[in-house]
């Protein structure tokens, strides 16, 4: 695959070609000298030339895959759908396994609270404060609740959100077990006296 270009350029355009003493390669042309800089008459390194050809072939194949075949792995709309379908299939199996496992070995109360704290620190702390003292969101440590203080009240708020107040739904970010754990943790904060508590909001909740 010797190109014509090379032959074309190879044509000596001057009679007295000299030779570089160190490499024994001919200089290119006699008048090829610029401010003392000469140029050698080396061909392109073959591997570089073939690398160039390969990248061109690969590139045009790729473009053909897109333009002609609209390949599923290049058209990103299709790629995305594929990824979502694959994930859905995978998680369905995993969820079943998980619940079977959980049923087989229930967690102790301490483990539940510890797991709840991890979720709280990741998800709830930003608005409700490091210790549940309240920040933008309400205080969890006092006896006052805006939407009720029963576990099922908390579940409803976490699942559905209170969007007008800025509390989003966490249904898509936490699984049911995690939600139960974090509820247990939040309720365990009752009566702790953290620094900088937010003033009570809502109604006093009396356990019956």
């Amino acid at each position: 695959m010797h190109t014509n270009d090379d032959n074309e350029l190879n044509k000596p355009n001057d009679v007295h070609q000299e030779v570089d003493e160190v490499t024994q390669i001919k200089y290119f042309g006699g008048d090829h000298e610029y401010d003392g800089i000469k140029e050698l008459d080396n061909p392109l390194p073959p591997w570089l030339k073939y690398l160039f050809y390969v990248t061109i072939v690969v590139s045009f194949s790729y473009l053909t895959l897109l333009f002609v075949f609209e390949d599923d792995d290049i058209v990103q709309r299709k790629e995305y759908r594929k990824e979502i379908m694959a994930a859905r299939a995978k998680t369905e199996v995993a969820v079943k396994e998980e619940s079977a496992k959980a049923a087989a070995a229930p967690l102790s109360q301490e483990q539940i609270l510890a797991a709840g704290k991890v979720i709280y620190d990741k998800t709830c702390l930003v608005c409700h404060g490091k210790f549940g003292e309240g920040l933008v969101g309400p205080n969890f440590t006092d006896e006052y609740w805006i939407h009720g203080g029963r576990p099922e009240d908390l579940l409803k708020v976490i699942n559905d959100g209170v969007i007008e107040k800025g509390m989003i739904s966490y249904k898509s970010q936490l699984n049911p077990t995690q939600i139960n754990h974090v509820i247990a943790y939040i309720l365990s904060l009752q009566g702790t006296n953290p620094p900088n508590p937010k003033a009570p909001q809502g109604e006093k909740f009396v356990k019956n």
Binding site: T23, K49, E79
Partner: protein
């Protein structure tokens, strides 16, 4: 043949070299500052002028246009005269060029810190400065071509091919990317919107790398490497092939900055493939540089200048291999928006641009001052400390970037994000940021060693302002190609024809990519529920741009499960049609904001949260690295500017109702009052005319329109 006597002007070379060093220190120190700011929020000093969103553009602009720019001009003014055996065309043009460029840099630094920015990366400067750049660039070209046309050599050397390609391409890129409608003396809206703006911007941005950081430095390499080593250039044929293939292919590669974005697939594919085809042409340059040193490796061992050249050219080879790699969609899915990209560009900037520039200065200054370098030993120390600095800089960013991307994408087996809290993935990176800052410190120390060494050298020498030279006059040559001449050899003695060919080569890619994006409607499908911003939101958006939020936050949800789970529906091109400029961003130091306002979304926050968070992010989350923005609650919205802004937007085709500019202020006040009232209900007392109110309004609008589909409900 009669020898003509003349002299080379060394003053401009000297001036540009000194400017290179001065701005080098400024640019690197600014870089070091932001390297610390990124993991120590208190380093932002609570002042708007010293906060990351404003200091980062100062760093990038100072390094690219001040440090590297002046280095380019140093090399051109020195080598051009000698390669063409003639004096520079006009001393007056040289002076205008030099002082014009330095004034632009000063104006850039002042305006960027003061918050005047177009919000387009590496093209942040506002329109009056853009015009000044154009004028000075034309003066530079005039001076260069004047010199070329009065040459005493028949042919132009490969360095000059690269200078010519640089000049014309930078002119084209700068002018087309900077087209804008002025609103006031230092505020304008770019002509392009959304995805089209993104395409033009990255056509510019990528080729600023290609034609400002690469081609002029290849020209520099082709002059200084053979000069310093005393060796002939390895292959003339390789020069030809890699020059033309490089400039033709490079211009197509811009869309690789927008992989997995709302950019149409066909453009993304062109970005990927043309980047892949660039490997061999780029490596052609590296090989021609390195193999020129064949037979001179013993000199490399002793001469720090050559060592810098070798590592610099090798860094070029590394980053031009990494570039195509990052353009593969599968790699880009991980690397994009992370610190990997920052590591990648610094291999090029610190290695290729930095070391080549340092080598040139160490060699050049003693020649301009007719003396020898004060200390070769110190230059060696500089070489090692800079090389080590690069390693300490880049490696932690590679590790950090990959780590963070994997955390973003990690799911639990039951299908939830493993790290739903973005901040968790940031906290992981703090040690990496600290090591990077250490690497940066080493590199800055190296720069200071250079300054000391050069000052000492200058003190010992005496400046040769006019360097005597002689050469025979140029004999008249055949107008057409002679029989024994190859076509390229012929082209080399016809510089204007050369310029025209180079211009054609660099225009093709841009034309093929940009024009159809405007003319073919299917490229950006319309979404009817997408409406123009309200006046308050528009003001808020301008504050977002002014504070440089795009330096750390993206507005582009990519079509991955990990992103739609975290942020919500992936971004569509039709959502951005009123965004002048686009604000996709290029780095997520903080989370994506494209769906920030979606009430039923994954990341919605109430107004009160935003208020508190802007004023003190650490109050909302101790580990946050976001700077505080307390002045937003004090400064008042520039309400008077509203009608003018609406008019400018209308001129750009944003469909506000007729005479809306008359009503805009009332609408703005009403919306601001309702936000202030909502804040008051949450216990926050504030006037409704504060900047923070406008910014909150903008936050709550982000990504909302697409979910408003009244006709379907």
């Amino acid at each position: 043949m009669e020898l003509q006597k003349f002299s080379y002007d060394n003053r401009m070379t000297r001036n540009f070299a000194i400017a290179t060093m001065v701005w080098g220190v400024v640019g690197l120190v600014a870089g070091l500052l932001i390297a610390f700011q990124i993991f120590i929020p208190s380093m932002n000093f609570g002042l708007e002028f010293t906060t990351f969103g404003r200091t980062r553009p100062v760093h990038t602009n100072a390094v690219i246009f001040a440090f590297v720019g002046n280095a380019i001009f140093t090399a051109v003014y020195y080598s051009l005269q000698r390669l063409l055996k003639t004096r520079i065309y006009s001393d007056l043009l040289s002076k205008i060029h030099f002082w014009g460029w330095q004034s632009i840099i000063v104006a850039a630094a002042v305006t960027l810190l003061a918050g005047f920015t177009t919000g387009k990366e590496y093209a942040e400067l506002e329109w009056p400065i853009d015009i000044a750049i154009t004028v000075v660039w034309v003066v530079f070209g005039w001076n260069m071509f004047g010199t070329i046309l009065q040459r005493r050599t028949s042919h132009i050397y490969v360095s000059i091919w690269f200078y010519i390609a640089t000049w014309v391409t930078v002119a084209v890129l700068h002018i087309f990317n900077s087209l804008a409608v002025p609103v006031s003396f230092l505020k304008s809206y770019t002509l392009y919107a959304g995805v089209q703006d993104a395409l033009v911007q990255w056509w510019y941005g990528h080729n600023a790398v290609a034609f400002f950081l690469t081609t002029p430095f290849l020209g520099m390499m082709y002059y200084f490497v053979p000069k310093v080593s005393g060796r002939p250039v390895y292959s003339y044929k390789l020069s030809i092939v890699h020059f033309w293939s490089l400039i033709f292919l490079y211009i197509w590669a811009g869309p690789h900055h927008l992989l997995y974005s709302s950019l149409p697939d066909w453009l993304q594919a062109l970005g990927t493939t043309f980047s892949v085809m660039l490997i061999a042409p780029s490596w052609g340059g590296m090989i021609n540089g390195l193999l020129t040193l064949r037979g001179a490796w013993d000199k490399v061992r002793k001469e720090p200048v050559l060592k810098m050249f070798v590592v610099g050219v090798t860094a070029y080879g590394m980053s031009t291999f990494e570039g195509p790699l990052l353009s593969f969609k599968s790699v880009n899915a991980i690397s994009h928006f992370t610190d990997w990209t920052i590591g990648h560009v610094h291999i090029g900037a610190l290695g290729w641009n930095g070391l080549l520039t340092f080598g040139m200065i160490y060699w050049l200054i003693p020649r301009l001052y007719n003396t020898t370098l004060y200390s070769t030993k110190l230059a060696n120390v500089h070489f090692w400390i800079a090389t080590l600095g690069i390693v300490f800089y880049a490696v932690p960013l590679y590790i950090g970037g990959i780590t963070q991307a994997l955390m973003w994408k990690q799911f639990t087996p039951d299908g939830f994000l493993m790290y739903p809290n973005f901040l968790e993935t940031v906290s992981q990176l703090i040690p990496m940021y600290a090591i990077r800052a250490f690497g940066g410190t080493l590199y800055v120390i190296g720069m200071l060693i250079l300054i000391y060494n050069i000052v000492k050298t200058i003190q010992a020498g005496s400046f040769v302002a006019e360097e005597a030279a002689q050469a025979p006059a140029l004999e008249s040559e055949s107008e057409s190609k002679t029989q024994s001449e190859s076509w390229h050899r012929f082209l080399e003695r016809k510089p204007i024809r050369f310029l025209i060919f180079a211009t054609i080569a660099i225009l093709i890619g841009g034309i093929v990519e940009v024009i159809p994006t405007y003319l073919i409607k299917s490229n950006i499908p319309t979404i009817t529920s997408v409406k123009p911003y309200t006046p308050l939101e528009l003001q808020g958006r301008d504050i977002y741009v002014k504070e440089g939020c795009y330096n750390c936050h993206s507005q582009m949800v990519r079509p991955f499960r990990s992103e739609t789970e975290r942020y919500g529906e992936y971004s569509k091109s039709g959502e951005f049609i009123y965004d002048h400029p686009f604000q996709f961003g290029s780095k997520r130091t903080g989370p994506d904001l494209a769906r920030e306002g979606v009430k039923t979304g994954k990341i919605y926050k109430p107004n009160s949260w935003h208020y508190n968070h802007f004023i003190d992010p650490q109050k909302m989350n101790e580990a946050s690295i976001m700077p505080k923005y307390p002045w937003l609650a004090k400064k008042e919205i520039d309400i008077k500017s509203t009608p003018g802004k609406i008019r400018a937007m209308k001129l750009l085709g944003v469909p506000y109702p007729d005479n809306y500019e008359l009503k805009a202020i009332d609408d703005l006040k009403a919306q601001a009052d309702s936000i202030a009232k909502d804040l008051a209900a949450a216990g926050i007392q504030t006037d409704s005319n504060r900047e923070i109110i406008a910014l909150i309004a903008y936050m709550q609008r982000l990504g909302v329109d697409i979910s408003n589909k009244p006709e379907k409900k």
